[in-house]
């Protein structure tokens, strides 16, 4: 697997998804093209691009950069942690409100990702979480969720 083939897979599957759902849309007539024309055309082009890259990406020429899966998994650990925590923040935002959700989010990032000690993480989370709430809600007047508490 190299980068070109990986890209080819993504384009092909995106194209197939577009194709399956766009053939259900009305194509209209020549003097009144329907909403399905562009998505269908683009999906076909994307599938063709994907197949081309799957074929062209074959081989181990010097311009083909192989993907080192073990290296990727090792390097991706931090981004995966951030994604998981951010997803949890989004999920809990309306329930807990911005102030509590952001403080918890920051606490877990500082503990788990940035690897601060507990008391340093708690302090940073409270200061930055509270400070960000004040900056966004009071100074910039952004309507942030208040949670089930209010």
């Amino acid at each position: 697997m190299n980068k070109e083939r990986a890209g080819g897979f993504i384009f092909f599957f995106a194209g197939m998804y577009g194709f399956i759902f766009s053939i259900q849309l009305p194509l209209g007539k020549l003097h009144e093209p329907g909403p399905g024309v562009l998505p269908l055309s683009l999906s076909i082009l994307l599938c063709i691009s994907g197949i081309l890259w799957l074929i062209l990406g074959k081989g181990d020429g010097k311009d083909k950069v192989r993907i080192d899966l073990r290296g990727i998994i090792r390097k991706s650990l931090t981004p995966v942690q951030i994604v998981v925590l951010t997803a949890a923040f989004i999920f809990l935002l309306n329930l807990l409100g911005y102030l509590v959700a952001s403080t918890l989010y920051l606490l877990l990032i500082f503990l788990w990702v940035s690897r601060y000690r507990l008391w340093a993480a708690i302090g940073l989370a409270i200061v930055i979480g509270g400070g960000s709430w004040y900056f966004f809600a009071k100074i910039l007047a952004v309507q942030l969720p208040k949670g089930v508490w209010i």
Binding site: I10, G18, P33, S49, I90
Partner: protein, 507 residues
């Protein structure tokens, strides 16, 4: 004479206490986001959109434009002092800028960078002031066939000007256009790819997609590596360049101004492209090109001037035709639409006080920025003393709140995160994201123009060659398309041949 009268009234608008304050705020915030790696003008503009609800449209665009060109000034600070680009347009400044710092000439590099940015920014505003009204008058003659042709050229250029090959960039453009079709069809009201989800009726939204791809994706990539940073101190008296450095930088500054302005007119990552092209040009015209990479002042002056000059160029199609040529102008367009102002051919004639107020404020803003970026550079550098493991969660919060603030929707946050992951994956695979995001923004417009053209002609394609402007532009886009295919095929053949020769020689 008309231009001078309009500019005079523009200064009358821009020099109110209220608008000076908003301009200063925008420039200050723009410099801060430019200095901070991981967030750029896009996040900076998005975050301040809710703050513009309390001001009028003129004040809003003045502030948001200040962030846009302010970020170009700020991005060079970390490039020069720390070898970390604060903004993607300042990547190339790292090459010679940091080397100058290591030689004790970091202050001079900062001075020339700010000076070049001021010259480039000011000259590009001059170009904006002269060309935007002309383009707007010309664009008023455009109907759907002409608009379709303009967008077609824009899309081909998007594919050509990406940092990867044409064959790698075009699928990103196509995928971006496909994502842009999600939502309600603008002509018939039919729902496309919504799967019964009401949050998708209006499409995915430019802001969460762009912030996710550029903001979250950038943070995820940056956190893979541990950033050990050395911040070099610069004293105020070290800021002044020598006479030799000043003389050497003049040519680069003027060449960068012209190049940046012209490239800014084109859709795509104009700021990044302008700085790279400027660097290559300086290396090409230099008497000793082998010295580039060791601390040549031209390697800082040219790119930094070019990326600032590109902001003025980028404003021309955005304001004159309603076509944003980059993610940041696209977000500014959304902000203007929220205020009930539609950029396009009629904008300058119907809202002259906004346009000329903006132009005048850009002259003022460039002055504010040179003051902020020279004697006060130490203040901004201190922001970077904050460890990155504290800084990146703050950047994430800015992206999250900025996205949430527009529609108050957690669905948008989900889109932000998904496109953040996609942006991260595409970065790992060396695919260009700017064409993807821009194609998503411009896709609906080209579709509407195409369908309206065929409706108007009763289904006949002859409308595209009966209209002279449309015909010329379509021929141009075909020529560009085939030229790019030829260029990419030649490049691929050359690499295959080289791979074959290398494998034969190893046997």
């Amino acid at each position: 004479m008309d231009v001078l009268n309009n500019l005079y009234s523009g200064f009358h608008t821009a020099l109110s206490i209220h608008n000076i304050y908003l301009c200063f705020l925008g420039c200050l915030w723009g410099t801060v986001v430019g200095v901070l790696p991981g967030i750029g003008p896009l996040a900076g503009i998005t975050l301040l959109i809710p703050a513009t609800f309390k001001v009028d449209a003129t004040g809003a665009i003045i502030m948001l434009a200040g962030i846009y060109y302010g970020a170009m000034y700020g991005g060079s600070t970390t490039s020069i002092l720390m070898n970390i680009p604060g903004e993607s347009a300042s990547i190339v400044t790292c090459i010679d800028g940091y080397q100058m710092t290591l030689k004790g000439r970091g202050g001079a590099a900062l001075f020339i960078s700010a000076w070049g940015s001021w010259v480039g920014g000011t000259l590009s505003v001059l170009g904006l002031m002269l060309l935007a009204p002309l383009l707007a008058n010309f664009a008023m003659k455009f109907g759907p066939p002409e608009m379709f042709a303009v967008f077609l050229v824009a899309f081909i250029l998007l594919g050509s000007l990406g940092s990867s090959s044409f064959f790698k960039t075009m699928p990103m453009v196509i995928m971006g256009m496909l994502i842009g079709t999600i939502g309600t069809d603008p002509l018939t009201g039919v729902l496309r790819f919504t799967h019964g989800n009401k949050d998708l009726y209006d499409g995915l939204g430019v802001l969460p997609v762009a912030m996710g791809a550029f903001g979250i994706g950038e943070v995820l990539s940056a956190t893979e590596e541990s950033l050990v940073r050395t911040i070099h101190k610069v004293r105020f008296r070290e800021l002044l360049p020598t006479r030799k450095e000043l003389r050497a930088s003049w040519g680069a500054i003027f060449r960068g101004s012209g190049l940046g302005f012209l490239i800014g007119l084109l859709p795509g990552a104009a700021h990044i492209l302008s700085s790279f092209v400027s660097y290559l040009v300086e290396k090409r015209v230099a008497k000793r090109p082998e010295e580039f990479g060791t601390g040549r002042i031209e390697g800082v002056a040219g790119p930094e001037t070019a990326n600032n000059a590109a902001t003025g160029g980028a404003m021309i199609p955005f304001l004159g035709m309603g076509i944003p040529t980059g993610p940041a102008p696209a977000v500014m367009m959304i902000a203007l639409l929220i205020h009930g102002v539609q950029p396009g051919p009629l904008f300058i004639s119907q809202q002259p006080h906004i346009f000329w107020g903006l132009v005048a404020s850009m002259y003022l803003g460039n002055v504010i920025l040179i003051i902020l970026n020279l004697p006060l550079v130490g203040i901004f550098v201190n922001i970077l003393r904050v460890p990155f493991r504290i800084l990146f969660p703050i950047i994430l919060l800015i992206c999250l709140v900025g996205t949430y603030s527009v529609n108050l929707s957690t669905f948008d946050l989900g889109v932000l995160l998904c496109f953040g992951i996609l942006g991260y994956v595409f970065r790992k695979l060396d695919y260009d994201l700017a064409p993807f995001v821009l194609a998503m923004i411009l896709g609906p417009s080209i579709e509407v123009a195409f369908r309206q053209s065929l409706m108007g002609s009763g289904g006949s394609f002859s409308i595209f060659w009966e209209k002279p402007i449309a015909f010329i532009l379509i021929v141009l886009s075909c020529l560009l398309f085939f030229w790019n295919i030829l260029r990419s095929v030649r490049s691929m053949k050359a690499s295959w041949q080289k791979a074959l020769e290398d494998s034969e020689s190893s046997l």
